[in-house]
Symmetry: D3
Subunit: 243 residues, 6 copies
């Protein structure tokens, strides 16, 4: 199968995109083709609800394009599942968000899970997101943030892993979590080590979303048209802008 991964950040280098594809390929079936795009029309990186709003139009456009290009599924490479419902209305292939996929997988591994995020400023929205995920909200043990000194969690990966493990241990010991979820796609690939350091399974949304796409494809399942009906047919357009 062919999966289009939409990374809702602007202007990533080709090299970075190819390296992410290789990382994802490691958990995919041999014959799964993974192609990641980033945003090119929208200068944005997802660090707020504002960013989710601004990225939305281009994400939907790219999801539609992916379907036209014959992709079998769309993965939104972000814990905030930006524009996920709109994409599901517009295309018939499965659209999988990293947030929903990882929380559902977490629900299979223990009774209570915690989310680890980048900054305390992201905590209210992350806590809120579990209400839409389909997972029982009373299963969320906590959201904790690592307060990174830099903006980029991938700048010093060993240090990020150390901070994730520290926060994760607090989730386990103070909040009684049984499972951890990496609450930002910038943490992709760090789950194994955080799991070894904390003793809890750690769900990596990047991987959860890819494998969930494969699962749905294998069973020829896609989203319910009753839940996500097609929008009325009409012309829709928007002008450029900045903020």
């Amino acid at each position: 199968m062919r999966i289009k991964v939409i990374n809702p950040d602007f202007g990533m280098s080709d090299e970075t995109l190819r390296s992410r594809e290789r990382m994802l390929q490691a958990v995919a079936k041999p014959d799964t083709v993974i192609s990641m795009d980033c945003l090119t029309d929208t200068h944005v990186a997802i660090d707020s609800a504002l960013d989710v709003v601004l990225a939305g139009a281009e994400i939907v456009k790219r999801a539609k394009q992916a379907e036209q290009d014959g992709y079998d599924a769309v993965v939104l490479y972000c814990l905030s599942d930006p524009a996920m419902v709109a994409c599901r209305e517009v295309v018939r292939i499965p659209v999988i968000g990293g947030g929903q996929a990882s929380m559902l997988v977490a629900g299979m591994l223990g009774y209570r899970f915690s989310l680890l995020t980048t900054s305390h400023k992201r905590m209210p929205e992350k806590e809120e997101s579990v209400r839409y995920s389909g997972v029982d909200p009373s299963r969320l043990a906590s959201v904790r943030s690592i307060e990174l000194p830099t903006d980029d969690p991938r700048h010093d990966i060993p240090d990020t892993i150390r901070l994730l493990a520290e926060a994760g241990r607090d989730c386990i010991e103070k909040d009684r979590a049984h499972v951890l979820v990496l609450g930002c796609l910038s943490f992709a690939g760090m789950g194994r080590e955080v799991s070894e350091l904390t003793g809890a399974p750690v769900v990596d949304p990047a991987f959860a979303a890819i494998n969930m796409a494969e699962l749905l494809h294998a069973q020829r399942l896609s989203h319910s048209r009753i839940a996500y009906p097609s929008p009325p047919l009409r012309h829709r357009s928007w002008s450029s802008g900045e903020l």
Copy 2:
């Protein structure tokens, strides 16, 4: 006080906008100034989650502009509360969505309420919306739709009122609702008559939002910066597109 009402539909005539302002003025304090804008950069009308996504960027831009122009509050003239969280992150004046405001007012008038919407296609999303409103989701008795023969609920207002009353009676008798909420801003101004025909109080989101803006302003309250923190400062922009 001065309220900027953002109507997330494209290209309404000046006459229509002025007539809506007059309708809203009827419930406002004498010295409240109501100014309604519609979208001019985005060809869209809110009939799906897709439309909410597409309208988002312009709505936030307009909310920010309203604050710069000295408005005291922003009202989103839509039951879907499009881009509400993003607007709250960006401006410090209160941002009130018709959906949230009307459900909170409904919570004061009885134990259970129902939403009346335009089409069965809008029901799943409306039912979902109560989870973010702050109202106890177990208080939602039902969502019912009137299936209008035309696209425009204001084309034949007496007929729309008749259909709303019919659906409303089903909400009361079959779903045990105590209160009704007009689940689309196109029904604005029809609440009184639907109430007379059904015997239940009917909350009109257009009015609920205006008066809630006045309530917050009178008490000098606005949204919590802890819940809706400012996005990181950086340049954000988007290109024009169509779908």
Copy 3:
């Protein structure tokens, strides 16, 4: 409009009542007339569920009298919303309780709120009260009490404000509250300063109830007769007593 505020404490001086009316007038429309009564037949101050029970009969009597006297709304000046449901059964004008009104307003300002109360003895009942408010109980972050050295929160107002801010900061930092609610009407008027000291919006139930009365009146809304049906017509009376 004319609002009858029923203060469920016994025997307040005329001077105190007039001063409370002036305080409330500050958030009201210019043409709103606010008239506060206290209890005169019942020696009680609301510090327990017992007090709520004892005050009930006189409160209902006063609500009925207010309607006969042409008032447009009744406000119960207490976070426990004493006899609110009974009053709603008996009169057709809106009856607004300080507890319900303030929690619904809090629900608009953030995802999670905390209540600040006078004593740890009041905490279980306050925590319980959110279940009836119509607000989603999972939005209550915590109830915390200031343990006042004196009985009267208005004896040393700056000190009460200091204690409220301290408890409020704990709600924000330890319980992840986004919004605070003054959980006792004796704290009326202290919200602004507590907000400045804590950085969170603070809902003042006295003000919330007054403005909610105005909101309902502006929209000619009142409580659902389906939820609060008229009691069967019959003679009801009670004898004096003490406890």
Copy 4:
């Protein structure tokens, strides 16, 4: 043990009271002494939230008197559990309400239960009451009413039983209830026959409350002083009135 049963209706004849005591005695231990009082200072019968409010003061007075007279428990002979929390604050012996006791017993007999009440006007309040009972509110399948032609469910007992069985069958077949609760103490003693006619266990609140009092007494348990703290010591009194 000695149980004081407080029947919150006015002016029942001695003969009726003694007959109720005999009925209750049938489920009690041989050495349990049951003494029922009705209200004598308050002209009221519990048919609304108003009636609950008016009856409250006398009920608390009688509960306190019962404790002083050496009774071991107080039973409130009403599904609305009038003044239950206030009584628990005031006395240290167990205070058992028919509503709470019967819903907890129902929770032991199946996953879902329904309440049968006297009139559709009582349905909203009954449905609401499950939220305070301690039982999981999602276990309430429904509230249904029999619409009695007369005021008195005991006027034609076989007919009342027939109507209860009819409504009960609807609860089972349409609302998927597994257990029925007689939602009014006037139905006391009719449970066995309704159970035979419907095939579901029927909880009789009168009996549930008596046996729950015995259970608590056998284990020397009473209500938590942390949940129901003593009200501040002070003089409390009320004047006679009517409505």
Copy 5:
């Protein structure tokens, strides 16, 4: 009445069984006959979900035998309520589990309760169990464990009581519990002293289950055949094994 108590531990001495019967008799009616059996075919003690599974077949067999022997009720002497639903399917006499009975009684004594268990390893399952109990899961304040130095809570009873009181005080002060439940039947009989040391009512599941059996018997109630239908008639058997 005659109650068969099934203790799901293997090979207890006759002396121990008789001593437990005497302990239970203390809260029972004089004419209640209590007969306790332990497991004899299954080498197991209930310290895990595994143990619950292994004990199941023999428990059901014993419950069925008890009914054939004319017992009036079965009590499962364990907080995990092992095989409770299966037993209810198979016999028509009431089957009462210590876990469900004690949580329902706790629900009558305060708004929030905590469970005290033997080891942190038992906490996740205990916390989960409240979801099936019929009690509102949001009433569970916490589960805390005493970490006994020995395997047997009855080896040094005063020390166990001291540890229970310590953990119980944490439940009250840190988790805001109003009521405590002894979360293991090995703590049977220790409730009174833990209550005196903590100031909260302490529910003893052993006693709660016995008295609940009496309550149901007095009212001739048993479990709903709708909730727990008879399994299809067919031969069922199993071979011996070990693990």
Copy 6:
């Protein structure tokens, strides 16, 4: 990877087992080896909670054996997830139940789902099962049963499909389901056609569980040892019996 599928029915023919393996292989990766066993020590088929109890010991034994034989995951081929928690305590490889896996997949495809089961007698337990699945219980739209004339849903497969589609349409139209789940593993392989007949996605638990095993294996995830700790080391055994 190698998956051991445990079919909790007794004495299936080798031919049937191999045919089920081939059916499951169709959704699996090419290099996934699927090996299905049925019960041989326990005469039982899962048609009640009793059957779940009786099958438990052999299921755990087989799961442990599978781990020792080098299998990478265990799939419980049953919607009741028999002995799932016990298996997770005993082995370190993932143990996936058909019930939990299919409900979590359903949670990804729409807001509300319904379960289709074989008989109305299975409905209460199925409805209850959603509480432990990790999925938000308020997402369960309904459980409906087809009332098969024969015992075996595979006797006349086209007829079973017709009945499933009929019940499914009721779930969609009357209960507002968006997604259907085949609530019995005997329906395995019928999902595609039911989906075509109803227009809703249909989750087949047999397939969901296999692919979920692959997903966990690809990410080297297994269940949390904190949620499912190892039982205390000791000898455990049971004798043969029948019922």
